[in-house]
């Protein structure tokens, strides 16, 4: 692990809101190709932490390094173009546009950058929709889709950017068991092409998907390890799993 430069790392990352240390001096490394889950009780600072990574929130101090480059000074949209995609915890699709047009905005951005000239707009959109299983809903207005489908659309918008790091913020929240099973298969499939950072409360999803788990509590990293190790960790059990 030490020999390879991680895709993403943070050093001394901190963010306070008033007196609250939402993220407190976090050193974090994520090697390419991994599915990493971040778990922790509500208010542990998980969403703030990933928001610092993707630039939605600016750090009080500390650095974020992505693919060997310091991206701490980049704005959110620049980080997206550098290859970090974020899907929102609260579904944030363009409610008045069709599913196709939602994803088209992602593909259009990628095509404008000229990184990928091979795929035309239509192909890129249908490819992303097909991956999440929404092909049949391409022309449906996003705001009128079922909630689970809106979550999937959100994911499709993220993956249509062809990111190198895909951050999923509680993607299974509000999904049915059947949808969750499909979602697990989807993320496994995506992980062949991209590194995935997953905030998740559903322990079944975490245990199924994560290569390693990072546990946060009160803005700090409490533990990190394989699912088995985390399950056995006494601190984690006390803080989170409730033993």
């Amino acid at each position: 692990m030490a020999a390879v430069t991680p895709l993403l790392s943070t050093r001394g990352l901190r963010r306070s809101f008033g007196g609250l240390k939402a993220v407190d001096h976090v050193d974090f490394d994520l090697p390419a190709g991994e599915i990493r889950a971040i778990i922790g009780p509500n208010g542990a600072g998980k969403t703030t932490f990933v928001s610092l990574i993707c630039g939605r929130v600016l750090p009080s101090s500390g650095t974020v390094t992505f693919d060997g480059k310091d991206i701490s000074g980049l704005q959110a949209h620049q980080r997206v173009r550098a290859g970090i995609a974020y899907t929102f915890q609260i579904t944030s699709v363009f409610a008045n546009l069709t599913a196709f047009d939602n994803v088209a905005l992602s593909v259009q951005r990628r095509l404008l950058d000229g990184k990928d000239k091979s795929g035309a707009l239509h192909d890129g959109v249908m490819d992303a929709l097909q991956k999440v299983g929404l092909t049949g809903h391409a022309n449906a207005v996003a705001g009128k889709l079922a909630y689970g489908h809106q979550r999937l659309l959100e994911v499709a918008m993220g993956l249509a950017l062809k990111p190198r790091l895909l951050i999923l913020d509680e993607p299974t929240q509000g999904l049915s068991d059947g949808e969750i099973a499909n979602f697990i298969a989807l993320v496994r499939d995506l992980s062949k092409e991209t590194t995935i950072l997953l905030i998740e409360h559903n322990m079944h999803v975490v245990m199924e998907l994560a290569g390693r788990i990072t546990v946060m509590e009160q803005g700090r990293i409490l533990a990190e390890g394989t699912p088995e190790a985390i399950r056995a960790d006494a601190d984690v059990q006390r803080a989170y799993l409730g033993a």
Partner: protein, 321 residues
């Protein structure tokens, strides 16, 4: 709303509107041809406003300054420096675009109500500047550009812009150009980005879009269109006054666009035309015509909250751009 809208029908409609307006030049009585000339020029102003308000979702209360920048940018060089009309027209557009770039750069640091107030303040500053330099602008009284200066000369060709038919046709050319460019913009990836920014700015940022530069581009385009309208107004109608920089001319394009339908390509024309004729019609009957105008506007907003064309699009013709 998207690139997958039926292109043929959209182009046919716009071509038909332009053709219809062309025919009107030869059939309208003299008085109404004059009204239409004015409406066409001011509809370009409204279309410029619509780019920012309708499509990008930014409500400016200061667009009089862009119209007036075009008006003065074209009018002052003709009046004081004897410029010919073609370079003056270009100077007007450039004035508006440069002003929009500077104002946009500052005002776009704010959003919502603050943006409205900041644009309003800048427009007031512009208005007061036109009064301050009364020596050159003659303030509210304004400048009347001599008829002999309002000639478009190209080689042996000498066209008097004061000729009613030519004036109408030039107004139509301006209107058509702005309409076609608007149609092109709203169907382009850039236009779709603007609409998406209006709908959900934060999501666009997280799709990798630079929201600020997209908005700034919208302000500059909007400012340039409004300035083109102002410049044409000065050259075609020969009057340049501070009144056009006043708050009234910031509210009017908002009203025209709301009436016709925000974020529709043809709404601004319909709104402008409607406003002109309801004022024209009612003022012929009674002195308190503004009361009737106000009541009509209230009724219209109650029953067509999305404007005339916006409501038509919503109910019957979702393909309208």
């Amino acid at each position: 709303m998207t690139g997958r809208a039926p292109s043929g029908r959209v182009f046919a409609l716009h071509a038909a509107v332009i053709l219809g307006l062309l025919i009107l030049n030869f059939v309208l009585p003299e008085y109404h041809r004059g009204v239409f000339s004015r409406v066409l020029v001011l509809a370009a102003f409204a279309m410029g406003y619509n780019i920012l308000f309708g499509y990008t979702g930014l409500l400016s209360l200061g667009h009089a300054m862009f119209f007036a920048a075009g008006l003065y940018g074209a009018g002052l060089p003709v009046y004081h420096l004897d410029w010919s009309v073609a370079p003056a027209f270009i100077a007007g557009i450039v004035s508006g675009a440069v002003l929009a770039l500077a104002i946009g750069f500052l005002a776009l640091r704010t959003t919502g109500v603050a943006f409205m107030i900041v644009t309003l303040m800048f427009a007031q500053v512009f208005y007061l500047i036109t009064l301050f330099f009364t020596t050159y602008t003659r303030g509210e009284e304004g400048l009347v550009i001599r008829q002999d200066l309002r000639h478009l000369r190209m080689g042996d060709l000498d066209l008097a812009l004061t000729d009613p038919s030519l004036r109408y046709l030039i107004a139509l050319v301006l209107f058509s150009a702005v309409l076609i460019v608007t149609l092109f913009i709203v169907r382009s990836p850039f236009g779709r980005s603007l609409v998406a920014i209006r709908e959900n700015e934060e999501r666009m940022r997280m799709l990798g879009y630079n929201v600020f530069t997209n908005k700034l581009a919208a302000v500059v385009l909007s400012g340039a269109f409004c300035a083109a309208s102002g410049a044409a107004y000065a050259l075609l109608f020969g009057y340049v006054g501070s009144g056009f920089a006043s708050i009234q001319y910031s509210i009017l394009p908002l009203l025209w666009v709301l009436l016709g339908g925000a974020a529709t390509t043809l709404g601004p024309l319909i709104g402008t035309l409607f406003m002109f004729y309801i004022v024209d019609f009612t003022s012929g009957f009674m002195p308190a015509y503004l009361l009737v105008v106000g009541a009509a506007l209230i009724l219209l907003i109650l029953f067509f909250p999305k404007g005339i064309l916006g409501s038509i699009r919503e109910r019957w013709a979702p393909w309208l751009p």
